[in-house]
């Protein structure tokens, strides 16, 4: 099965075959009956519509239960602009797409503040309200009577820029548009935007630690998804020529969900197959049309449970998130880990008199800490002594009750976690927060997210500048892989790899964020001896690069040869600062760990 999948995936991804298919359809269309051509046009529109769900749900993990609304905005917008106001189609359609995108952006405004299920409910409401608005707003939409007379290919009333376009020509145009859209969606998936979408889908906190803001990213996903759905709607309007509210009600939203889910969330090819299936079925099978609602209901109820990856998951390999062309370019570049060295040396991080209170509990009590570039400091203490809390304060997860955090001359106290990461202070977590389905390479590349400065448009159109930048970062990824001894498993999904490997990967990912200060939270936990040696070497390399390093850990043998100095916390207070040898003999430290008696045993 796996070989079949690999074969099919390669087949579908081959651009020559894609071009061949498009060409064949373009040239072969005149040979088909007009009826077939029209159904095929519907398939293409459904495929684009399904992509909008694919993007939102498959990639970004958000759910929309009212996507017919965006579809409808696209349709009515171009319909009204072109029919009523005489705009040309070439203007009407893009404006419709823009409006639908803006609607998506506006609808998802609570994304920063509420659970995703609230957003899902809002989309349900949106679909409902849109339907009612359409029925009422007679002047624009024609109300319940609908909007007839939209220039349509099927009715031969459509002309684009003065050129008459009939059903056949429209199909050919649709073909090109659909192909182009698919290409752009694939480019998006393999760009930093796609990776960011998927990251917030799987782990918002991990995404935040790299500098990816969850709320804004979700809004972008809803906006793009809305725009795509609007495009499908606009193209639909100029196919059918008549827009009635019934076409933009709940059944439409349900149908696109079914197509997208059965096709397989995340699989572009699967979506096309599914769109074909569900467009032809109601046409050819009258009985299906009768039982449609019931069938769709059952499919939605059980498909995510029985066949979560849909047809796409069955036939094809899971989509990858790095552009092959960027990889090819990167292979030609030579990257040296030394390039990860921070640009400006000499930035120290100072935590001054940090106090953290949770209700009546004082977790951190007047602790001051200084991290110098090129030095490794250990932060140790019994469980509950406040180590993790202190790190959370420094990295912006908590705002301290008192005290300040300064870095490179800036006061970074109270900045959000992704802002602190953006400033150059990066951390890892006690349990590796990696994205499960991503490969090691993809996970590492995610660390370089903020280094990729090219615009979204450049990413989607796969412009040379964007590819070059990605290649550069990929080369650095390669260097880090070598440093962390992960090259051999670079292209395996991270959740199939052992714990020690994942730890190394997480440290590597943090490195790619080009930090000046790095805080490692229990990096050695759960590692075997050889794994610990590799980690030690990696940390030494980072020190040599000039990073300021803070290590929280309990494994004293791991820390002994590695650290320059150690800070010991107990019950939120600092009870020792100095070197490790001294710490071992310090009575207060021993008492803190083992209790008074062991100190004098």
């Amino acid at each position: 099965m796996n070989r079949l999948r690999a074969f099919l995936s390669a087949l579908v991804a081959d651009w020559r075959l894609q071009a061949l298919l498009v060409l064949a359809l373009l040239l072969g269309a005149p040979l088909l009956s007009p009826g077939t051509v029209q159904i095929a046009s519907f398939v293409l529109i459904a495929a684009i519509f399904a992509q909008s769900i694919n993007l939102l749900t498959g990639l970004a993990g958000q759910i929309s239960l009212g996507h017919a609304g965006f579809f409808g905005i696209g349709a009515y917008c171009t319909g009204a602009l072109v029919k009523t106001h005489g705009l040309d189609v070439t203007l009407g359609v893009p404006l419709a797409v823009l409006l639908a995108g803006v609607a998506g952006w506006l609808l998802s405004f609570p994304a920063k503040r509420v659970r995703d299920v609230y957003l899902a409910m809002m989309t349900l409401g949106f679909g409902m309200v849109f339907f009612e608005v359409v029925r009422e707003w007679n002047s624009v939409t024609g109300g319940t009577m609908g909007l007839p007379g939209v220039p349509s290919a099927a009715l031969r009333t459509l002309s684009i820029l003065g050129v008459k376009v009939d059903g056949l020509a429209y199909f050919q145009l649709l073909l090109l548009i659909t192909a182009g859209t698919m290409l752009m969606v694939r480019n998006l998936t393999q760009s930093r935007i796609g990776r960011a979408f998927y990251a917030i889908h799987i782990s918002e906190i991990a995404a935040g630690s790299i500098g990816i803001p969850a709320g804004a990213t979700k809004q972008l996903a809803y906006a793009l998804s809305g725009a795509l759905a609007g495009l499908a709607g606009a193209l639909y309007a100029h196919l059918v020529g008549y827009l009635g509210p019934e076409s933009f009600a709940l059944p439409r939203s349900i149908e696109v969900l079914v197509i997208a889910i059965v096709g397989g969330l995340g699989s572009i090819a699967g979506q096309v197959l599914s769109a074909t299936l569900f467009t032809f079925l109601p046409e050819r099978l009258q009985v299906f049309a009768e039982w449609q609602f019931i069938a769709y209901g059952l499919i939605l109820t059980f498909s995510l449970i029985i066949l979560p990856k849909g047809i796409g998951g069955l036939l094809f390999e899971p989509p990858r998130f790095i552009r092959p062309r960027a990889r090819a370019r990167a292979a030609m570049l030579r990257a040296d880990a030394a390039m990860l060295r921070p640009a400006d040396q000499g930035a120290a991080l100072e935590a001054e008199r940090i106090t953290m209170r949770f209700g009546g509990l004082v977790a951190v009590d007047d602790v001051s800490l200084r991290l110098e570039p090129g030095r490794i400091t250990a932060l140790v203490g019994p469980n509950g002594s406040g180590k993790s809390t202190l790190v959370n304060v420094i990295t912006g997860i908590y705002r301290p009750s008192a005290g300040r955090v300064r870095f490179a001359g800036r006061d970074i106290t109270g900045l959000a976690d992704h802002q602190v990461a953006a400033a150059g202070v990066v951390r890892t977590f006690q349990d590796p927060r990696l994205v499960p389905h991503f490969t090691v390479r993809e996970n590492l590349l995610l660390g370089a997210h903020r280094q990729l400065r090219h615009s979204g448009v450049a990413a989607v159109l796969a412009l040379p500048g964007a590819t070059a930048e990605e290649a550069q970062q990929l080369a650095l990824v390669e260097a880090v892989l070598a440093l962390a001894d992960l090259t051999a498993m670079a292209d395996r999904p991270i959740d199939t790899l052992p714990y020690g490997t994942r730890r190394m990967a997480e440290v590597g990912r943090a490195l790619l964020a080009r930090p000046q200060v790095i805080l490692l939270d229990e990096p050695a936990a759960g590692l075997s001896e050889p794994e610990m040696e590799r980690l030690t070497q990696l940390i030494r390399d980072m020190k040599a690069m000039g990073l300021a390093i803070l290590l929280i850990d309990h494994h004293m043998d791991f820390l002994a040869d590695l650290v320059d100095d150690v800070v010991v916390l107990d019950s939120g207070r600092m009870i020792y600062r100095g070197d490790i040898a001294g710490m071992r003999g310090d009575a207060q430290v021993i008492a803190a760990y083992l209790g008074d008696e062991a100190a004098h045993a």
Binding site: G61, F293, Y296, G297, L300, L304
Partner: protein
């Protein structure tokens, strides 16, 4: 002297508002125990109302028809928990599969109802009183049906509030909503509570369906679908997880939407509810009585 029109709208708003609160409570219940909501709740409302019509048309006494329908709907609640929510929560593909599953099941029920009962609206018989019965309060005509609906809804809400506050099982539900692991370790039968919450939530939906159908006079397969949204708005306005909040939120939604519906346009009722939702999320996501349970999972 209050304007008759205004007063009748107000009363209608209060009555339906109380029912929206019931729906909100149903959503709250499963949210407490599993952090999920049945997006197909509306179809359960519709099903209960339709079954009541069907059973009573077969000659069954009204009370029995309602009761029997409630039992069926509660049974569906069990099915939904076991076969659409639990497997979705356990599937690794993402945390929101249950939204699609529960919605899908609601669609399925709607389709079945349309197939079996037809898609036309059917008249909903009088459970208590008739649409013409009224009393005079302060010189205004007050429909008895509206009053009964209001009374039933408020009674159920108070009963639930008392249940959660005063009884051990109610406390246990609250505990599960706070820390399911800790509840387990103290011997609380979490699984049974989850099942019970789904049954009760579905039954509440059924009652809401019957009450709304009574006021509205008819029921059709698509009935109820939009009600889940209104219930949600009520829950958000009042604060997710608060029964009193649900009542406050429900009344607010009910009154405002009925007033807007009467003075502007009936079609604007949902629109205004949606607008209220957007306002609440923009200004005060935790609602009137809620504790900030609005951060992402």
């Amino acid at each position: 002297m209050m304007d008759d029109f205004f007063f009748s709208l107000l009363l209608a708003g209060i009555s339906v508002g109380a029912v929206y609160a019931l729906i909100a409570l149903g959503l709250n219940l499963t949210f407490w125990t599993t952090k999920t909501m049945n997006f197909g709740q509306g179809s359960l409302m519709m099903l209960c109302a339709m079954l009541t019509v069907f059973l009573s048309s077969q000659g069954l006494a009204m009370a029995l028809a309602v009761f029997g329908s409630l039992l069926v709907v509660a049974a569906f609640g069990v099915f939904i928990e076991r076969w659409t929510v639990r497997p979705a929560l356990q599937a690794s593909g993402g945390s929101m599969g249950w939204v699609v599953s529960t919605l899908g099941f609601g669609i399925f029920l709607q389709g079945v109802a349309a197939k079996y009962f037809g898609s036309q609206a059917v008249a909903f018989p009088d459970v208590v009183f008739t649409a013409q019965d009224f009393v005079t309060v302060f010189g205004q005509y007050v429909s008895l049906q509206y009053l009964v609906v209001l009374a039933v809804a408020v009674a159920l809400i108070l009963a639930l509030e008392l249940f959660v506050r005063k009884t051990v099982w109610g406390q246990a539900v609250h505990a599960v909503s706070l820390d399911p692991e800790l509840a387990l370790v103290q011997g609380i039968p979490v699984r049974r509570l989850v099942l019970g919450s789904f049954m009760l939530s579905s039954a509440l939906a059924g009652v809401a369906g019957v009450l709304i159908a009574q006021i509205g006079g008819t029921v059709d397969p698509a009935f109820g679908f939009d009600l889940v949204l209104l219930g949600f708005v009520a829950a958000v306005l009042g604060g997710m997880g608060s029964s009193m909040g649900a009542l406050a939120g429900g009344l607010l939604v009910g009154i405002i939407s009925k007033l807007v519906g009467g003075y502007v346009s009936t079609a604007a009722e949902h629109g205004i509810a949606f607008a209220l939702l957007m306002m609440a999320l923009a200004l005060r996501p935790q609602g009137l009585f809620g504790k900030a349970e609005v951060s992402k999972a």
